[in-house]
């Protein structure tokens, strides 16, 4: 069974929950109307199903081959990438000034979800290129580099990488040791970088490395790191390729998942020194990385959504097909498909409703990024920025943690066959596992949430969000019936739990007790995710109810949305109170246990 983009839910979220029409008010997005977005998603879906999905499983099995500093990608990847670039998908989010399509984050996020679902390992190549494009776009002022590199990267002829991590500098980038020595109008770089996604491959003619390194006179720590652009092949002034640069892949990693994505160890300057150019000002490298962080973390958070969707589609197809046992309570003795078994339905509905919730939160965040970048009114723009800053660690941390849990459920639906690689369910679980780690682990996201996003502003941004949730609760009051009573009750107790936990977090910072807040941070992030997800689901159910009354659109879709939301309220929002308890009480034991007692 192949992957099909869930365009109906995507469009519902884009139009009804994330508010595409509000983005249409901005001049540059005026033409990105719902019909255009629908066409884009349909075509992306077609491409994903036909080209990327068929090489997902085979790519995982085959992996990449490494020999003589070069990587040979899995069968079909080179051809797929050529078609991907040819169709213009590498330039979705980039500036039209350099050949991109300039679509809003909301739309490029939905398109990216499709790539990630169809083939997560493949999708990382354009994702990293996009990151490198943004780094050059926003921080490189040298027009001779911009005008040559950006069009090539946007059209996909060259790909990009981000070289941050070193063996001793992972989550803590202040420990970066790579050196950059000035030489005329350029620099020579020396050092080793690890975990470089798509750092070496054969799908494009050149690879543009964005590298963090220290100048000889740089101060210690975070304030002494600069950003450099280092091409695999040197580039002549006319854009043609010159000599091979001294930046060589020396090995690739053997990983748990995303096996078709080459993860390179790159040695810079083992010979004459890798020639590079500084991006922006000296010692500003980490600051530049921070400006790109919201986009990068949204992109990885989306992987949780995408891999869950894929796992759900696979599990659903299996559950409808696999005949096993008789339906409970039935005396006919007739064997039935396992979807008839209530616990299988429970698993499928968990996968469905949580995937929908994570998608809604991620897209909502993407629309906020667009508003934060384009709102003409200063106050409105600032409000959007503070909301997106608050939500990004939730999107990254929560959506990816859900991705791990839901892909695990996907295996469970398959029973024994899920544990066998042949069904593909196991690959989803293995692929999902990286997303809670790279681009800042869940722990780091949670620390960011409790510290910078809640503690620092004394919960002001969070309170602003709670006001919006209360408005939805008021909307829900107007709807009668059992389903909506459950949904309203779930969201109401969820918000109460989150409010209590937020007050506790703020209090810890006020009392200079960051250790306690830190200990409770992941439980808080999880609670935050469930409640914000529940809020978006409740909004969705409310709108679905209105559509049903107006008799417009697809009835089955709206009915399913309401049931999915009710399930979410009973199964997910009901956990909020327990999580709030963990937040406010759980740090005591964590801090009481000394190293020796472990």
């Amino acid at each position: 069974m192949s992957y099909h983009a869930p365009t109906q839910d995507m469009l519902f979220v884009i139009n009804e929950l994330a508010g595409l029409s509000e983005l249409n008010a901005f001049e540059e997005y005026a033409e990105i109307t719902p019909d255009v977005v629908e066409s884009i998603l349909e075509e992306a879906g077609k491409f994903a199903t036909d080209i990327l999905d068929p090489i997902n499983h085979s790519g995982d099995k085959e992996g990449n081959q490494f020999a003589n500093n070069a990587v040979t990608t899995a069968t079909g990847f080179k051809e797929a990438y050529a078609q991907f670039a040819e169709a213009g998908w590498t330039g979705v989010a980039s500036s039209p000034d350099y050949g991109g399509q300039g679509l809003p984050s909301l739309v490029s996020t939905a398109v990216a979800e499709i790539w990630k679902s169809a083939n997560m390992a493949f999708s990382l190549c354009p994702m990293l290129t996009q990151g490198a494009i943004e780094a050059l776009m926003h921080h490189c002022s040298d027009e001779s580099i911009r005008s040559v590199y950006l069009p090539k990267m946007i059209e996909g002829t060259w790909t990009g990488t981000m070289n941050l991590t070193e063996p001793s500098a992972g989550s803590d980038l202040s420990a970066v040791r790579s050196k950059a020595v000035p030489e005329g109008d350029h620099y020579r770089l020396y050092g080793q970088k690890i975990f470089i996604t798509w750092g070496e491959h054969d799908v494009a003619e050149n690879i543009i490395h964005l590298v963090l390194a220290r100048l000889p006179d740089a101060p210690e720590g975070v304030k002494g790191i600069s950003l450099f652009v280092v091409p695999k092949f040197l580039v002549n002034a006319d854009g043609s390729l010159g000599a091979r640069n001294d930046a060589y892949c020396v090995s690739i990693e053997h990983k748990l998942g995303i096996n078709a994505s080459p993860t390179a160890v790159i040695a810079f300057g083992d010979n004459e020194g890798a020639l590079g150019y500084m991006v922006g000002e000296p010692n500003q490298g980490l600051k530049y990385m921070f400006t790109m962080m919201n986009h990068a973390r949204l992109a990885v958070g989306l992987e949780g959504v995408a891999i869950s969707e894929r796992a759900y589609q696979r599990a659903l197809a299996y559950a409808k097909d696999r005949i096993q046992g008789v339906e409970i309570g039935s005396r006919t003795g007739q064997k039935v498909a396992i979807i008839k078994h209530p616990d299988v339905r429970r698993m499928l509905l968990t996968m469905k409703s949580v995937t929908e919730a994570t998608r809604a939160v991620a897209y909502y965040g993407a629309a906020l990024l667009d508003k934060a970048g384009h709102e003409p009114d200063d106050a409105v723009r600032a409000e959007a920025q503070s909301q997106v800053d608050l939500l990004i660690p939730v999107v990254k941390g929560w959506c990816t943690e859900m991705g791990v849990e839901l892909t695990s459920l996907g295996i469970q639906v398959h029973g024994g066959m899920g544990y066998i690689e042949e069904t593909g369910a196991a690959q989803h679980f293995r692929d999902a596992r990286i997303a809670t780690i790279y681009e800042g682990t869940t722990g780091i996201q949670a620390n960011d949430l409790v510290g910078r996003k809640v503690g620092l502003d004394k919960g002001v941004a969070a309170q602003a969000l709670f006001v919006k949730i209360k408005a939805t609760l008021a909307d829900l009051e107007t709807v009668h019936g059992d389903d909506f009573a459950v949904i309203r009750q779930g969201l109401s107790t969820g918000l109460e739990a989150l409010t209590t936990a937020t007050a506790w977090i703020v209090q810890q910072y006020a009392e200079k007790n960051p250790q306690a807040a830190n200990a409770s941070s992941v439980a808080y992030l999880r609670l935050f995710g469930y409640v914000v997800g529940g809020w978006q689901m409740a909004r969705a159910a409310f709108i679905a109810q209105q559509k049903l009354q107006q008799s417009s659109g697809n009835h089955a879709f709206f009915e399913a949305k309401i049931i999915s939301t009710r399930f979410y309220a009973d199964y997910m929002l009901s956990q909020a109170a327990g999580l709030s308890h963990a937040v406010t009480q759980g740090s005591v034991a964590i801090l009481a246990m000394s190293d020796e007692l472990f």
């Binding site: 066409s39 349909e42 075509e43 036909d50 998908w89």
Partner: protein, 249 residues
């Protein structure tokens, strides 16, 4: 020369259709609709003829409900130059479709009309042939290769026994078979451009065509459920079954 390509909006080929409970028709409420795959091949062929310098303009035509605009936009994103929708909520049977297309042809004066050999919803395989007859043009159906030189087209047709090569004078109606080409993927920039290409909406009345119905659907039913297979003990019993049960040898 101008090429007219007729495209039909049908249930997407990935959708597993269900018969309505009253057996009156197939249930297409809320199912995904897209361009008939054979018509997609027709559009692709027109674009290739344009790229080869033979076609000067590609006009896409669809007949049916307002939502047919979606597939016309898809065709425009593939490379069509402009589009016409003959809009109606009425059922359009093959003869009516041919009449409507004839009226559009008389208006637009193309030298070639390309359409899919059949639509995957009703599988009628009639419109192209009827259109050629109504226009008094030659027809080249089930095309698997089309070459145009001067006022003549050479078309390789897929027939039961293999392939047949025919020469036809222009103007001509061509119907596309599966192996004529492999349609391209729409390029992202072209999706945006398609929105700005002209799309005219006409009604059957504008074209002076009455949508008469010559066909009545009596009943629609699911295909019979396939019986489970059996394992045969040896070649002897297989031959016996093929001979006496299946009666194929």
């Amino acid at each position: 020369m101008k090429i007219l390509v007729a495209v039909k909006r049908v249930v997407d080929y990935n959708v597993k259709v269900r018969v309505k409970s009253d057996g009156s028709d197939v249930d297409i409420a809320n199912v995904k609709m897209s361009m008939n795959p054979f018509d997609e091949i027709a559009v692709e062929e027109a674009i290739r003829l344009q790229e080869a310098g033979i076609a000067t303009e590609i006009i896409l035509v669809s007949l049916g409900v307002k939502a047919c605009q979606d597939i016309l936009r898809t065709g425009l994103a593939m490379g069509g130059d402009r589009a016409i929708l003959v809009e109606t909520d009425e059922e359009i049977q093959p003869l009516s479709a041919a009449k409507l297309l004839k009226a559009v042809v008389e208006k637009e004066q193309p030298k070639m009309v390309i359409l899919g050999k059949q639509a995957i919803d009703d599988d009628a395989n009639q419109t192209g042939q009827m259109l050629a007859a109504l226009l008094g043009w030659g027809q080249a159906t089930f095309a698997s290769k089309v070459t145009v030189a001067g006022e003549q087209a050479t078309v390789i047709r897929e027939i039961d026994g293999g392939l047949e090569t025919i020469a036809v004078k222009l103007p001509v109606v061509v119907t596309a078979d599966l192996r004529l080409n492999e349609p391209r993927y729409v390029k992202l920039p072209n999706i945006m451009k398609a929105k700005k290409k002209p799309l005219d909406v006409l009604t059957p009345a504008d074209l002076g065509v009455n949508l008469t119905k010559n066909l009545v659907t009596l009943k629609v039913q699911e295909p019979p459920v396939r019986k489970a297979g059996v394992k045969v003990a040896d070649v002897q019993s297989l031959v016996d079954k093929l001979k006496n049960e299946a009666k194929v040898i």
